[in-house]
């Protein structure tokens, strides 16, 4: 304590410290459930992303995926990958609007099977408008027999505001079903999402055209993470294992290297120990 404050006396400072402590305590209590959920997290499979997400994505919460209009294919693949990670053997409800079939194509069942998901577990809801889609998604989230609910909304919509996303979050928390929102051609607005991703398609690894290209690759940017830092990674989807992974042979990382470089520090420490 600085000398010019000493005349306030010890009791006043103690009172302030205790207020501060109690406030800290209440903040800790508010944040406690999320910490308690940590063990339940579902790993994506990509080591860098999982480390940043402290183990993976929380299943009982809202996650948003944004993509520009012409990146609909990649974003669909990414969110289907998330849904596949969340609920490998549970039914998946996909809520979409009528016109999204024309805008960005219908979901192809053979494509889904090739991707490593099970078409038998997919129930598609074709809603006439956004309000219906939101309501249906909230209803579906209340059904704990599901693994995940994907809500696909095209463009900027007024209805999907903070209140709507709060409703989805609460429904997801109550039932433990993952709420995944796919926003194509939309600009991010405030929401209660646990994570928010911006997804683009990524190049296949260099090499001859015939050799090992075509595996789904995403340039996934984590732009919001309620409980940690954000980052950007190239992810490859392993259709056989139903898992994200590091790109198999990418020449240089697109993501910025973390400033403290933990892996290099570890390597140096090992080197020192060895010597």
């Amino acid at each position: 304590m600085s000398p010019n404050r000493s005349h306030f006396g010890g009791s006043c400072a103690t009172a302030r410290m205790s207020t501060l402590a109690s406030l800290r305590g209440s903040i800790a209590r508010i944040e406690a459930p999320s910490d308690a959920n940590m063990p339940n997290r579902i790993a994506l499979g990509h080591a860098g992303a999982d480390a940043m997400l402290r183990g993976g994505l929380a299943p009982a919460s809202l996650h948003e995926v944004f993509a520009s209009g012409h990146q609909g294919g990649a974003a669909t693949g990414f969110i289907a990958g998330l849904a596949g990670r969340m609920s490998p053997r549970k039914p998946l409800v996909w809520v979409r609007q009528d016109f999204s079939d024309r805008e960005s194509g219908a979901l192809s069942m053979s494509g889904l099977a090739e991707f490593g998901l099970d078409p038998r577990l997919l129930v598609t809801v074709r809603a006439a408008d956004v309000d219906t889609a939101l309501r249906t998604a909230a209803d579906a989230l209340a059904c704990d027999a599901l693994g995940a609910v994907v809500l696909e909304v095209w463009g900027d919509v007024r209805q999907l505001d903070l209140v709507a996303s709060r409703k989805l979050t609460l429904a997801a928390q109550a039932s433990g079903v993952a709420a995944l929102v796919l926003r194509i051609a939309a600009t991010p607005i405030p929401s209660t999402a646990e994570t928010r991703w911006i997804v683009r398609a990524a190049h296949s690894p260099p090499g001859t055209a015939a050799s090992a290209w075509g595996a789904p690759r995403f340039d996934a940017e984590l732009v919001r993470n309620r409980h940690g830092p954000v980052g950007r990674w190239i992810m490859e989807w392993k259709c056989d294992e139903c898992l994200f992974s590091e790109p198999s042979a990418y020449p240089q990382p697109v993501a910025a290297t973390p400033s403290h470089r933990p892996h290099q520090a570890q390597a140096r420490a090992k080197h020192r120990l060895a010597s």
């Binding site: 289907a80 494509g111 889904l112 006439a128 990524a202 595996a215 989807w237």
Partner: protein, 546 residues
């Protein structure tokens, strides 16, 4: 001239179990006649019942002649008759109010009346243009007997300005015949011949040519015709007329075709004081659901289709249908489905001056197999999933909730069939999809356009090779990687050989987006004009890979 509604009903119970069906066949049909004054045209009706002295007529155009189609009492007194040309009618009676006939409105009015008649029996058949048959077998006692029922129906329709003729008889044709000239008559079984005998032949409602023929032959009444040997009548007027006559005499029966199939179970509640508020309506539905479930439970049935009908005091009827994926046996579930449905109605339920009858009917039922729940969680999950699908379908419609079934076709857009999830959930869960080849990247796109979108391809290095760049949705894509072609021939046995073979390529552009594009037609063999010269191929993008 008049019309009638006759009813010959089978069975009907207030708690909706089906009675024994024997009664229905030769039960007591009730016939109503709505005489053809005004012809149901609302505008005409209004003025026709005003009772002013100026004759009113409804005219219709028939073979370029404008003929009287329907007339009111004043016009009858003025000496007009149906079928008279309008010009002649004007000559007889210069101050004439003329309305145009509107057959569509007439039919709608008749349908509305039939809706209203649903409150007396579930079996109501139309007898166009102006008649209705009600099959009241087993229903009459609910309204205090046949006489009372006849009174209720006639009075209610008369109050609304319809001229009604009604009769109850053992067969529908006999009842219809009676309504034309002996309205209000009730004949016991076996007495039809006596009842219709004295009526003029026109009451049979046969073709006008036959009626005129009979009159010319000196056969004025139905009794006269019946006294002749049937083969004489058949030889002169055709066997159809003989059949009609037999039915009218009660010796044969013509089945009626009810507008709606008879539901398996019906429960209903009538209110002396019409109910208006949502709360009471909801409570009524709840208690009806309980009654229905109790009735179904006795026979181990569950409902697959439910219909709630709301009968307004002013005669309007609103029916709301709910389909269910698996037989429902719990009243709470029924209640919940209807709540969802009612909330989502585009035009909400309008009680007007109140509902005096609410009915809940199980249109389709199935036997419910009571099985013991095992500890396998997935069985339970499927129950929950189908309950969820039912709820969503009740709100937004069953066709909007779909699952997919595999089809035996290698044409991409035909390899899967979207079917309503309510009815095909079990089939979809058991469906066998082609296995993916392990280790291969996806060979089929994640998103498939129902209609392939045309792209502009400036050139290809080799005529049947892949393009180097293409323009899709006004954006240009440079192709950096290509895999293909994968040749998919059309199903010649289904397409008459009209559609062209497609060469599919998986391509990746500079941004890393992957497309599934195809060239429609083989370069040398299929793409030729009438003179045999090669024509450039059309290119399409069919899907997007993840």
């Amino acid at each position: 001239m008049s019309t009638l509604a006759g009813l010959s009903p089978p069975l009907w119970g207030r708690v909706g179990e089906r009675g024994t069906t024997d009664a229905g066949v030769c039960g007591l049909p009730l016939s109503l006649t709505l005489p053809r004054k005004g012809g149901g045209n609302p505008a005409a009706d209004a003025s026709l019942t005003n009772g002013n002295d100026i004759p009113s007529v409804v005219v219709a155009k028939d073979h370029n002649a404008i003929l009287l189609h329907a007339i009111d009492e004043a016009a009858v007194h003025a000496g007009l008759s149906i079928g008279l040309p309008l010009a002649n009618a004007r000559a007889i009676c210069p101050e004439l109010t003329v309305y145009d006939a509107d057959p569509a409105a007439d039919l709608k009015t008749l349908n509305d009346i039939a809706d209203w008649c649903d409150r007396f029996t579930p079996l109501v058949a139309l007898d166009p243009p102006y008649g209705l048959f009600l099959d009241i077998t087993g229903c009459a006692h609910l309204f205090g007997g046949e006489r009372a029922l006849l009174q209720i129906v006639t009075n209610a329709l008369s109050r609304r300005g319809f001229a009604v003729g009604a009769a109850i008889s053992g067969t529908s044709i006999a009842a219809r015949t009676l309504t034309r000239h002996a309205s209000g008559k009730i004949t016991a079984d076996g007495e039809e011949a006596q009842a219709v005998g004295p009526l003029p032949v026109s009451a049979l409602g046969a073709d006008p040519a036959i009626t005129t023929g009979l009159r010319r032959a000196g056969l004025k009444t139905i009794g006269d015709v019946a006294a002749r040997a049937p083969h004489e009548i058949s030889a002169r007027f055709g066997s159809a007329f003989t059949t009609l006559l037999t039915c009218a005499l009660g010796q044969g029966d013509a089945p009626i075709s009810p507008r709606k199939p008879l539901p398996d179970y019906i429960v209903e509640k009538r209110f002396p004081e019409p109910i208006v508020t949502d709360t009471v309506i909801a409570l009524t539905l709840q208690s009806l659901a309980k009654m229905l479930v109790v009735a179904m439970d006795k026979q181990g049935k569950g409902a697959r289709q439910l219909e709630a009908s709301f009968f307004r005091t002013d005669g309007a009827v609103r029916s709301i249908m709910v389909e269910i994926g698996r037989p429902v046996t719990r009243p709470e579930m029924i209640d919940r489905l209807f709540r969802e449905r009612l909330e989502a109605l585009a035009d909400p339920l309008d009680p007007g001056f109140g509902f005096d009858l609410i009915r809940l009917a199980a249109g389709r039922t199935e036997i419910v197999v009571q099985q013991q729940r095992d500890l396998d969680a997935s069985v339970h999950d499927n129950d929950e999933l189908s309950a969820l699908i039912d709820r969503i379908a009740a709100r937004i419609g069953g066709k909007r909730v779909v699952v997919h079934l595999p089809l035996q076709s290698h044409i991409p857009e035909r390899s899967a069939l979207a079917v309503p999830a309510q009815h095909h959930l079990a089939a979809a869960i058991a469906a066998a999809w082609p296995e993916r080849v392990a280790g291969e990247p996806p060979l089929r796109p994640f998103r498939l356009f129902e209609r392939p979108e045309p792209i502009k391809v400036p050139f290809a290095t080799v005529p049947d090779g892949p393009p180097h760049q293409f323009t899709w949705r006004r954006a240009r894509h440079e192709v950096v990687r290509v895999e293909g072609p994968e040749r998919i021939a059309m199903e010649w046995w289904q397409q008459d050989g009209k559609r062209l073979t497609r060469d599919y390529f998986r391509v990746e552009d500079t941004e890393g987006q992957r497309f599934w594009i195809f060239r429609d037609g083989l370069y040398e063999s299929e793409l030729r004009d009438e003179d045999g010269n090669p024509v450039p191929a059309n290119w399409y993008v069919h899907g997007l890979f993840a």
